[in-house]
Symmetry: C2
Subunit: 248 residues, 2 copies
Amino acid sequence: MASPPTSLSSVAHRTIRRTCVNCALSELCVPVGLDQTDMERLDQLVDRQQPLPANAHLCRIGERFSALYAVRSGCFKSYRMDREGRERVLAFHLPGELMGLDAIYPGVYQSNIVALDVGGVCALPYNDLSRLATQIPRLQEQIFRLLSKDLSAYAWLGGDHSAEERVAGFLLDLSNRYRERGYSDRAFNLAMPRRDIANYLRLATETVSRVITRFERQGLIRTERREVQLLDLDGLNERANHCLQVTV
Amino acid sequence: MASPPTSLSSVAHRTIRRTCVNCALSELCVPVGLDQTDMERLDQLVDRQQPLPANAHLCRIGERFSALYAVRSGCFKSYRMDREGRERVLAFHLPGELMGLDAIYPGVYQSNIVALDVGGVCALPYNDLSRLATQIPRLQEQIFRLLSKDLSAYAWLGGDHSAEERVAGFLLDLSNRYRERGYSDRAFNLAMPRRDIANYLRLATETVSRVITRFERQGLIRTERREVQLLDLDGLNERANHCLQVTV
DNA sequence: TGGCGAAATTGACTTGCGTCAAGGAGGCGT
DNA sequence: ACGCCTCCTTGACGCAAGTCAATTTCGCCA
């Protein structure tokens, strides 16, 4: 009771060590369904890295693949460059999601991954992870599932959708993912600029802007810079042509 | 030396039982890198199914996911239906390739898979396969790799490419895959009608036809219905904008 | 051999989205 | 408070690819 609560040691004592076991994201991330013992084994190989400042790169194309990354906080973007040097956004990653999966096959990172705002990641050294996965069937299963899940996401992007379908689908996808994470699915903040959204959806920035304006006029959404409110989910689903949902 | 080689029993005796161990595709398929003992364990769970006639379905969307399928011979197509009932081709599968990977996550097939011509598959019961994968690290690794490989393939389809880029990329992709399988990479037969190619590339059938005609006029290829000859790989690579290759 | 239907090609027209260009609105450092 | 820069929005115009429609070719079966 004597030492003031502001002393360094006191703070250190009160700080709960971040582990998979007490991580709020464990139900979205790799350790889904693991019991406490297995989670602790997983925990030992996880490298909880320093938070990255906005616009800092986590990895770059061509670097030797050594680890998968799980988002702990913030929002990340993965992208490639085409031969003309133009950026091509492949995905946005929210907390609990796994990044770098496309690097497993070639053994070399296939995309640049950058923090859109300040964000933290857990690095999962791949060799250790796959070794552990042979020992914990539930873990192997979860990695299979996460890889398979990404296939469906990419398949959507590959479809031939109109600009309206793409933008509506994008908003609904984010809405679903925020809900899963316990955030509001009706009002959220876009971590990425319009340019990145457009690039991800393979549209021009101007087209995204126009569609958003149109949705706003139709009373489907309300926006204020990067703040978005979804006012009419049914209407958005109609615009998205119902083609978003992965049948689960 | 006495019995004539044409007698039925003789044929039966000379027929080698099809196993993973003696399968010509083992270096492209799931058992990559397994030693003979492990291959025999894998072999025991493989269900070598009757050849399917052309246009027969292997599985349909919504069916409970129970097995992955490896192509043994022929060419398969996987596709979905959008809400308007239009077909959307997701992939063509050549011998040695694994199908149904996108069903792992939801536990329900996410695409219809149909034989384009008469073709054979090996069914790999998923529960048995993943159990075996925990016991054979090299097998687990290979499944990770195959899943990861598909991610890159889907990423290409998701890019915003012109019609010329798409058609050139498609031809070169087939060329590479045929070469891997020991076939000519300069002359091959398209197992699928133009309509399916167009659908896969998210183009109109007419557009594919026009691009093919243009390539032919430019001396890049020669076609005779479904027979294709690639005359100028460099030229095609240029049209494809070099954006096909996965950096391996 | 001839006739039917599916597949492929080609031409004429339409359109959704990209490109170009200009203007407005915050954010931030000095 | 000012200026600068980046982000976003809006309008005018052009083009690549889609749609519609007609014709040819091939495979197939009677």
